[in-house]
């Protein structure tokens, strides 16, 4: 088993929490893991990505080869498209539909939607609304992870447990909200 994931978003949107959750789950399963992050200048509102690789055998490169990713998980729709050169032909894109507009020439939403539809294997959902409805507006990233969970070759309970571990120090309420967000995302993606 190997699963190569590109995580995408804008600096400050919380893609590293998604990475940390999958990472904890992978460790619990006794899998090999490599996870490359972006620190420094790009974190100031620039595009950020993380290469996350899990496997049952040793992983060599910290970077996913071009055309090799099993999926792109993105918390922002334009950022999902930026990493298509890394996606395998049969790979999936799971992305939030809510744009993060911090540049003057952000593309027209209809064009963006068309480009996402063009890609084929794509799941688009409004993670912000789902998180807001749960009363946890900051849990959009966990909604997206939930939506991607059926593509990740690990039992869903393992991911739930990882969310619990990750948010444990913030208290029971935060843990519950994030697990609810994870479940809601999985349901919204409708791929049990």
């Amino acid at each position: 088993m190997k699963c190569d994931i590109i995580l995408a978003g804008v600096g400050g949107q919380g893609i590293l929490s998604i990475a940390a959750t999958i990472g904890l789950a992978a460790v619990e399963r006794g899998l090999f893991l490599k996870q490359s992050e972006v620190h420094g200048m790009s974190q100031r509102g620039g595009d950020v990505q993380s290469h996350l690789r899990i496997s049952d055998s040793e992983i060599h490169s910290d970077l996913i080869p071009h055309g090799g990713a099993d999926m792109i998980i993105s918390v922002e729709p334009m950022e999902a498209l930026r990493y298509l050169p890394w996606l395998a032909p049969e790979g999936w894109v799971i992305t939030n539909s809510v744009p993060y507009v911090n540049i003057p020439d952000y593309p027209d939403m209809a064009e963006l939607k068309a480009a996402l539809e063009d890609n084929g294997n794509t799941v688009v959902l409004d993670a912000d609304s789902i998180a807001r409805d749960l009363g946890s507006p900051r849990s959009g990233n966990m909604v997206i992870l939930g939506a991607a969970s059926s593509f990740i070759p690990m039992p869903f309970e393992i991911l739930e447990h990882a969310v619990q571990q990750l948010f444990n120090r913030k208290g029971e309420v935060v843990v519950d909200l994030n697990i609810q967000a994870l479940r809601a995302g999985r349901e919204a993606a409708g791929r049990e």
Binding site: V27, L33, L63, L81
Partner: protein, 538 residues
């Protein structure tokens, strides 16, 4: 022992603690910052009294580490690659003095310049100083190498350089720990003149160093890290350095036996293995994450040997970091790439955070500078360099730490008036103070704006040595109190701030304007931490 999931930087930090380090010295710089942050956050480091405060710059860090080594304890110093330029005087000479307690220097290079001004390769510094260099291939090896680095340092009485690059520094993997060692007890050098580099002593020690460097080529620990996997195939032999090996393995998959591979991770290199590979193969491909160091040595000055392929003949791009695709192309392997990036995707450059104080300073400065024309703002290294991008487009230089002040001095000497230097608080205490003294002494007609956000912002909000001290530092250096002005960069003070900037720009002598407002990122973090503390005690 349970495995730990650590960044390459964190693996190095954990290893240093486990290897009995007594003190860590550093100035923040991407991609090296997390080494010190990990040690500062470590409860064990606190319990065992490991010294771990930030230094004013990389040179003071290097010297403090050398001082700790002098007193017999193990010390580590970490910096980004360009930080080694700042520390170079102390670093090069530390090879001539030698060490007492083990001394490990970590340089984190940033090929492709993700957060840097150049992509210099620190392995050259290792050769220049004539010290052992270790270049880990992965996070586990980074952990293990720190133990060997301290041992080698104490065995040969030399500092040891660990060279990593961004992808290893900022990538996480599971680390298996070793049993922890205790710290050294204090001891003075056996020769009281070892650290006294008077010419007569330095000449003797330098000569010994040149001999020792050649001996290092046959050291079994160093040679042990350079692995040769033979193959019956003789067409193309491959030499990799550091993490380039991972990109090779990623591509080899089932073709392991098709290529003899010499994987290097320690320098200076023993030439025996290199000779065996070169002599047995029709062609040698060199894959280096960084400059073509080994490739240049193989080619030699005359470069008549057509057998070598690498960065210098275009087989591998001359600049930039490696990745699996570049290595596949260099090996002539065809790999499926994914789709093109759709045209709808726009560039998203980094920008000031909403509500950033630097942005308010630039707003006021931009409006005042309209009257003077472009090309007059010398800036420095930090978040505020983003003033070079829209909407401000007004920064005209970003060269090295502190260069804003001194370039403005030089430009003013050439007749540019008014000339502005724009520098942050942490960069000011790193390398701006000495330049300001130059400006004070000749009352240079420049306006220095110190944009003080009371933190080291770009690297994630580390403590700034300047906090609460800038005004007194400026006065102490001799800045005229009449032209030392304080402003608070807020929208509501815009008109008032413009007036101050305008007055000082028109002053034909040195002015310093301190614009002080805490970084909004740090402020919100501090607020959260304070709230959490309050709820705990409540």
């Amino acid at each position: 022992m349970q495995k730990l999931l650590l960044l390459g930087d964190e693996a190095i930090a954990q290893a240093a603690l486990d290897a009995g380090m007594s003190g860590m010295y550093a100035y923040p710089g991407t991609p090296s910052t997390e080494i010190m942050e990990y040690i500062q956050a470590s409860p064990r480091a606190a319990a065992e009294g490991v010294r771990r405060e930030w230094s004013s710059n990389e040179k003071t860090a290097m010297e403090a580490a050398l001082g700790m080594s002098y007193a017999g304890k193990r010390a580590m110093v970490a910096m980004k690659h360009v930080g080694l330029n700042v520390a170079a005087d102390a670093f090069i000479n530390s090879a001539v003095t030698g060490v007492n307690g083990g001394l490990v220097v970590v340089a984190a290079d940033d090929p492709s310049m993700h957060s840097s001004q150049n992509e210099q390769d620190s392995r050259f510094y290792g050769r220049f100083a004539m010290v052992p260099v270790l270049e880990p291939r992965n996070q586990q090896e980074a952990y293990d190498m720190i133990f060997d680095a301290f041992d080698l340092s104490e065995k040969y009485k030399l500092p040891v350089l660990i060279r990593i690059t961004t992808r290893l520094a900022h990538s996480r993997a599971a680390i298996e720990r070793r049993d922890a060692r205790t710290q050294n007890s204090s001891s003075l050098p056996s020769d009281p003149r070892q650290f006294v580099l008077l010419p007569a002593i330095a000449r003797k020690q330098y000569r010994a160093l040149t001999g020792l460097y050649e001996k290092l080529r046959t050291d079994s620990v160093l040679s042990g890290y350079n692995r040769f996997a033979k193959s019956d195939s003789r067409k193309t032999g491959i030499i990799t350095c550091g993490i380039a090996y991972n990109y090779l393995l990623e591509n080899l998959e089932q073709h392991h036996d098709d290529f003899p591979v010499l994987s290097l991770a320690a320098y200076p290199v023993n030439s025996d293995a290199v000779a065996e590979l070169v002599e047995s193969c029709g062609r040698v491909l060199v894959l280096e994450e960084g400059y073509p160091l080994i490739e240049e040595q193989l080619r030699g000055l005359l470069d008549r040997d057509v057998k070598v392929a690498g960065r210098l003949d275009g087989t591998v791009p001359r600049d930039g970091e490696l990745n699996p695709a570049i290595v596949a192309a260099a090996m002539g392997m065809k790999k499926d790439s994914g789709k093109e990036v759709p045209a709808v995707v726009r560039q998203r450059l980094p920008s000031f955070c909403k509500g950033c104080g630097h942005a308010d300073v630039f707003s006021a400065l931009a409006e005042v500078m309209k009257g003077y024309g472009p090309g007059r703002v010398f800036s420095d290294i930090g978040c505020y360099t983003l003033g070079a991008l829209p909407p401000f487009n007004m920064v005209n230089s970003c060269v090295d730490m502190g260069a804003s002040v001194t370039m403005a001095v030089g430009a003013a000497d050439a007749g540019l008036f008014p000339a502005v230097a724009f520098i942050g608080d942490s960069t000011f205490t790193h390398s701006g103070m000495t330049g300001l003294l130059d400006a004070v002494i000749k009352d240079s007609p420049i306006t220095v704006i110190i944009s003080d956000n009371s933190t080291t912002g770009m690297t994630g909000g580390q403590q700034s040595q300047a906090t609460g001290r800038i005004e007194s530092i400026c006065l102490g250096l001799g800045v005229n109190p009449d032209h030392l002005r304080m402003i608070i960069p807020l929208r509501k003070n815009h008109e008032e701030n413009m007036a101050v900037i305008s007055e000082e720009l028109n002053h034909h002598g040195l002015s310093v304007i301190i614009a002080m407002r805490e970084c909004i990122q740090t402020a919100s973090r501090n607020k959260k931490a304070a709230a959490a503390k309050k709820s705990q005690t409540a």
